[in-house]
């Protein structure tokens, strides 16, 4: 009952929250002293990056672990890992795009040799590599196992990205949102908008994941039908 309700509500709530973010971000919150109206990207970029790194890549990694662990092994886990990774690619690309858009006016360039930027791009290529690896193997079990290992090994990059700003001390913004002195940096309506954007984009991820997962389930059903047909065709081979 609860489950069904939340299923039903996921879409509307997601879009309501995103609409709220847009409204708050564009009309309600004030422009920044230093950055002016550019600060409004604060309600998009960090949230998108958060989803890309932690929510989606994290989901893919956890699902991969659960697949590899014998007691929780199931095709669902493999499927979730695959779908989450695909969505992750989308969010990583969005992070790069929104970051670049922000970078152009603030740093004067679209791209800089900054540790966080580079490591984010690397994560993107890893996610693409994951998809390429899946394509390269057609035995489902082997594919599931290999890509799960790859996802787990790739996840090492996530903390590297997070700490890169501290380790390398370069251009990109240091931790602002998730620090103890957060109150000093963002406050009032900005903090609320930020929070809503995080929740909104996180829900967006789950909404996309669910849509992608359903597609995969449909494909599986089609696959099963094709399987039966192929088997009966094969059985008739040479008998005619």
């Amino acid at each position: 009952m609860m489950k069904e309700l939340s299923q039903r509500l996921l879409g509307p709530v997601t879009f309501a929250l995103l609409a709220l973010t847009i409204w708050l971000g564009l009309w309600v919150t004030p422009p920044d002293k230093v950055q002016g109206n550019l600060v409004r990207l604060l309600y998009v970029h960090p949230a998108v990056a958060w989803v890309a790194l932690y929510v989606s890549f994290g989901t893919a990694t956890i699902a991969s672990c659960l697949y590899l662990w014998k007691r929780t092994r199931s095709w669902d886990m493999d499927r979730i890992a695959h779908c989450a990774m695909e969505v992750s690619v989308v969010f990583i690309i969005l992070t790069l795009i929104t970051g670049s858009i922000w970078g152009r006016p603030t740093w004067g360039v679209w791209w800089a040799w900054d540790a966080r930027l580079t490591s984010t791009a690397i994560l993107g290529v890893l996610a693409l590599g994951y998809l390429a690896l899946r394509r390269a193997n057609d035995d489902p079990t082997l594919r599931a196992k290999r890509s799960a290992v790859f996802a787990i090994v790739s996840a090492i990059n996530v903390p590297i990205i997070h700490f890169s700003v501290q380790w390398w001390k370069t251009l990109h913004q240091g931790a602002t949102v998730f620090t103890s002195n957060r109150q000093l940096l963002v406050h009032g309506s900005m903090a609320w908008t930020l929070l809503i954007s995080f929740v909104g984009f996180t829900l967006l991820f789950f909404w996309l994941l669910r849509a992608r997962y359903r597609l995969e389930v449909e494909r599986d059903a089609a696959y099963r039908a094709a399987f039966d047909e192929a088997v009966s065709l094969r059985q008739r081979e040479g008998v005619l």
């Binding site: 079990t141 399987f227 192929a230 088997v231 059985q235 081979e237």
Partner: protein
């Protein structure tokens, strides 16, 4: 209670990029028996052998080989008990004949001093230090036999073992088969010709379209 069969398949299906190599195989094989798989080209003989060796994944159905369940058993345990001789030359092409056998013997924890005797038995004494990739087709097949001799597997899976062996090689192989079965191993081989040795009483498994059509006797 009868002893459980070495191979037990029910409705076994195996796919390769969507095509069913095996389309529902039902098969039981007893221990210490000789089994010959026959069938037209493309019927699925090689695929069946690969499935039994744990080299091909099972897509649906049940399969148990040497007591190991193919769906969620320990395939490595199974593979250790299986001797495989494929179409293609096996082993490391850049090692010499002796080095290849040494590697296998050490990997299995067997003594290495049998190697020369085994090579003499399969008639490769004159090629001990030849690089494997330089061997002729039949010599490569003989190296495979030498390896099986060292191996002493429980279940022997041989894909067209007679192909490219010369007459003397075939006679030797027939003798080997008889020995092996007497020693209690199970042999499954694929072949296009009827077996030459009449003293062996093989069971013939006829495949058609990825399924067992008939079993005789």
């Amino acid at each position: 209670m009868t002893p459980s069969p070495v191979v037990h398949l029910r409705g076994a299906v195996a796919l390769s990029s969507g095509f069913p190599l095996l389309s529902g195989v039902d098969l039981d094989l007893e221990a210490a028996s000789l089994n010959v798989i026959t069938g037209a080209n493309g019927a699925g003989k090689t695929s069946l052998l690969r499935l039994l060796a744990g080299l091909l994944a099972l897509s649906s159905g049940e399969a148990e080989v040497c007591g190991v369940d193919l769906t969620n058993g320990d395939l490595r345990q199974l593979r250790r008990r299986v001797g495989w001789l494929g179409h293609e030359g096996s082993f490391y092409a850049d090692l010499t004949v002796r080095e290849n056998l040494r590697f296998c013997a050490l990997a299995l924890g067997r003594p290495t001093d049998e190697i020369d005797a085994v090579l003499a038995r399969v008639g490769l004494s004159s090629r001990v230090d030849t690089i494997t990739k330089k061997l002729s087709a039949g010599q490569r097949r003989r190296l495979g036999l030498a390896w099986l001799l060292l191996r002493r597997a429980e279940l022997w899976l041989l894909d067209e073992p007679y192909a490219s062996l010369d007459d003397q090689g075939r006679t030797f192989f027939d003798a080997l088969l008889a020995d092996v079965i007497n020693a209690g191993a199970t042999v499954v081989l694929s072949a296009h010709d009827p077996l030459r040795a009449t003293t062996l009483r093989p069971r013939t498994i006829g495949l058609v379209g990825g399924r067992v059509r008939e079993v005789a006797p």
